[in-house]
Amino acid sequence: MTVLTASRAALARPGRGRVIAAVLVVFVVLGAILRGVNTLSLVPSDTTALHRWFNDVNHWVSANRNDSPLFLYFFNEIRAFVDGLTTLFQNLISQPSFGRPVPVIGWLGVVAILTLLALAFATLRVALLVVAGFLFIGLQGLWEESMDTLALTLSAVLLALVIGVPLGIWAGLSDRVNAVVTPVLDFLQTMPTFVYLAPFTLLFLIGPASATLVTLVYALPPAVRYTAHGIRSVPRASVEASESLGATGFQRLVGVLLPMSARTIVLGLNQTIMAALSMATVAALIDAPGLGKTILKALQTLDVGVSFNAGLAIVVMAIVLDRLTTAAAARRSRRPSRFRLPLLGVAGLGAIFAVYLSRTYVWAAEFPSDYNIGDDIARHSGSFADWLTSNLSDVTGWLKDTATALLLDPLQTLLVESPWWLVAALLLALAYLLGNLRVTVVTAVCVAGLVFSGLWQDSMTTLAATLLATAATMLLGVAIGVWMARSRRADLVIRPVLDALQVMPPFVYLVPFLALFAASRFTAVLAAVLYAAPVAIKIVADGITAVPATAVEAATASGSSSWQTIWKVQLPMARQSLVLAANQGICYVLAMIVVGGLVGAGALGYDVVAGFSQGELFGKGLTAGFAIVILGIMLNRITQAAADRRRSI
């Protein structure tokens, strides 16, 4: 990615471009001469003093957990509260409760309530989608598991809103708070969950509380970010108007800021739900109930079909909840119709009646198992995966070998086999040439952190894969994004596929991927691209769509071909979106590094996974998690600064 940006910058300012090219050439030459010197390598089973220190902290917590007042009066209280909340939701919709063999509200009641919510806050179409979606999940034979996942998601999202919205308001009003909060949120989103699974069960014990809190860590950032963003984007004029009318701070907040940013905050709710759902599988590693368990169990016996069925349920739930919240956000601007209130009244009574039925009759409480399509879905998807892997694995094997030999290996050799100080010098030089002095300082701190972590070589291996994955993500993002922006039909077909790819837990397609591409770094790169590309594509597509039609028409009128219009008008005008796509692309690629470790990428991803499963490697896994965060900060700051610098030209 840095290389890509470099060539783009070169067009803008020939002088600097030549310097960058010279730096790269010097680096390659020196790297070839000094190959294998000072590479700071560390065998996977080895640890450094830092890693062992983290282990000691872990042991200390475990040994003192039961007598330290910190635990008795702080962590245990949090635990009791969160446990209660999650269990309450489970009792309501998923688990037998209050001495009855069924939850308080049966399937009919749940569907009715959600439909009512859709009618009240969204549209009739969304309400129909809710009914269809949840009936489908029931027919898959996964009602109880899905409700467990929903209960966990609801309690995590609720907590995320209770904490996130006030924090977001504060960050929206104060630049200083924002400056403190933003890096913390970056950290929460980039730190791999695997790293804190075991510590969380140490702090909050095994049970729903830990599962909910692990999910919360990941779901909180969007709640804060969107709220802050919403508050910040309220036009200054409106704020000033309310000031001149003598409104107090609180009145301004409630009367102007919150109503005007409500739409953005609801979109934040949407992202919070998506983030929470995406944690379902990982949280299952510490006994979180629900669909994640089904997927992990199926993975143990390589049952692709069963895990696909469960993954599909997550996708369906995510899409339904996404459309519900998105429509709710869009609705505010429209005028309610005359029939709305009476209609809602009827629907409300219907819902109450449905809840009553679901408390009284078995058929409305437990989803009838007579019509099960889940087994068929599992069987067909399983045999489709088999067919795919047995017929394509020759082609895909060749693809893997070629891409590895031509792209990944050379890049990795340069970064991994060169002396660490040479790579560090290159990174600093690029940060300075592409960005500015400030970014160079940040980069220096990051490099120091990586060296200190004792995981320099693993970090460079991961960096090589990350750069390649991000480059591929951007290529796909631009190609498909432009296509979607220019063709309404393409957009209609592709967008749901992107949604599904984003939400489908990677554990579901792990096995077919492994069968096609073997346990290799390439598989990891591919998994990362598959996860990151949808986001990049959507951002690019939205950016290009936002380019004023007049600009495009002017270009067409002056005789530009389609290519010229895209290249000279649409892409440059959507540059801000391209930068955002690159930044998000990097974040998403980094989020998949741990999954990469599960499919043969080794390096930091493997360190994290091994740290989770082996006590002796806990400290190393934690350090690897920090290293991933550091890589993320470094790459994002450099690309951001490069983009800012170009803008100022």
């Binding site: 065998v43 996977p44 475990s62 040994a63 957990r65 039961n66 009855r100 063999p101 075991a198 069960t201 140490l202 014990l205 095994i206 049970g207 590693l285 510490i286 006994d287 368990k293 992990l296 993975l299 143990q300 016996t301 390589l302 049952d303 009476p342 009244g345 009827v346 009574l349 219907g350 009646f353 009553y356 408390r359 009759y361 078995v362 058929w363 409305a364 409480a365 892997t389 070998d401 590895t404 792990l510 096995v511 492994l514 069968a515 346990a519 290799s520 770094r521 470790g597 599960l598 499919v599 043969g600 080794g602 493997y606 091994a610 989770f612 499963s613 082996q614 006590g615 002796e616 806990f618």
Partner: protein, 323 residues
């Protein structure tokens, strides 16, 4: 006023539908409720068993749970956890039993010796063996490949995009300790260790290798359900002798046979619960475990059915646990 009329009409309508449905019948919850648990009615209390994420372990749990619930009337809670987290549960009192431990000296030291919250309750009868394996077709085609001394001769076969110009040794499940880097170095093997990173990746690799007759050398272990699908062949490394793996850097011998062990929370073992007695007596062979694991993994039976099928056929063994 008009609204009122409308509302009343709706209520009447709804009531009519309700009557209609009630008239049609349908089992009500109270009458349809299942009685909780079966068993002999004896008060055995509750036992929390950790379920570690592999099928063999699940087979252990399925059978113990089945026996505890049906013969002793215990309430069994199973919790899906990884090994490290299961041990934490001993300290917090949320886990009573681990049925199959492959050896965690550090955790043992922490929770048994230092915190004294857990204790070893004997072996479960299964014997674990970690080692290097090749798919059966290779052992057939190259009979001498099962001796490590010949591995260098075949190194070219095992080259992949990940191992470069050396042969690949595919290491897998990150939850097991591996000596493979040291083995490669100390035995002068022309190989590179590549980390697959998950059991799923390892099994997929071996399955593909046997299906497509592709070469593969990898780390694997028995008992494991997959061996009943593809009977991998073990490569003999220098014979294990006491102490040859003492220094992780200098290991030059095969992995030792590991008798798999049961651990339990001390308080639970002293509680006098019938379940504690069962856990203490539970012991079966690798073949027993593989059979139940096969019911679960390949025949896709749920745990209860799988356990029942085995228990019905092996009542004598079960009786020995209960005496």
């Amino acid at each position: 006023m008009r609204d009122n009329v409308k509302a009343r009409r709706v209520v009447t309508g709804a009531a009519a539908v309700a009557l209609l449905l009630a008239g049609c019948g349908g089992q009500t919850i109270e009458s349809g409720s299942a009685s909780s648990g079966g068993g002999s009615g004896e008060d055995c209390g509750t036992v929390n068993i950790a379920v570690n994420p592999w099928v063999g372990y699940e087979a252990d749990v399925a059978v113990v749970q089945y026996v505890a619930e049906n013969e002793l009337g215990c309430t069994v809670n199973t919790k899906d956890l990884t090994e490290e987290v299961s041990w934490q549960g001993f300290a917090s009192g949320e886990i009573d039993v681990i049925l199959e431990d492959w050896g965690h000296p550090d955790l043992e030291k922490q929770y048994v010796d230092e915190q004294k919250v857990a204790e070893k309750v004997g072996e479960n009868g299964n014997v674990g063996q970690i080692g290097w394996f090749v798919p059966p077709w290779m052992a057939e085609k190259y009979p001498d490949i099962t001796d490590y001394k010949n591995l260098n001769k075949y190194a070219d076969l095992f080259k992949t995009s990940e191992s470069g110009d050396k042969g690949q040794v595919l290491d897998g499940d990150p939850s097991y300790v591996t000596n493979d880097e040291a083995l490669v170095k100390n035995l002068d093997l022309d190989y590179k260790v590549v980390y697959a990173g998950s059991e799923a990746a390892l099994i997929t690799a071996f399955r593909q290798a046997e299906e497509k007759k592709e070469p593969l050398l990898g780390y694997f272990y028995t008992p494991q359900w997959f061996l009943s699908e593809v009977p991998l062949v073990k490569v003999d490394l220098p014979t294990y002798e006491e102490g040859c793996d003492a220094d992780p850097e200098k290991v030059d011998c095969d992995y030792p046979e590991t008798p798999l062990t049961k651990y339990a929370r001390t308080e639970f073992m002293n509680s006098g619960s019938a379940a504690a007695e069962l856990v203490k007596n539970f012991s079966w062979t690798n073949d027993d475990q593989n059979e139940v694991a096969k019911y679960i993994a390949e025949d896709k039976m749920d745990y209860e059915d799988a356990a029942k099928k085995w228990v019905d056929a092996n009542q004598d063994k079960v009786d020995a646990w209960l005496k």
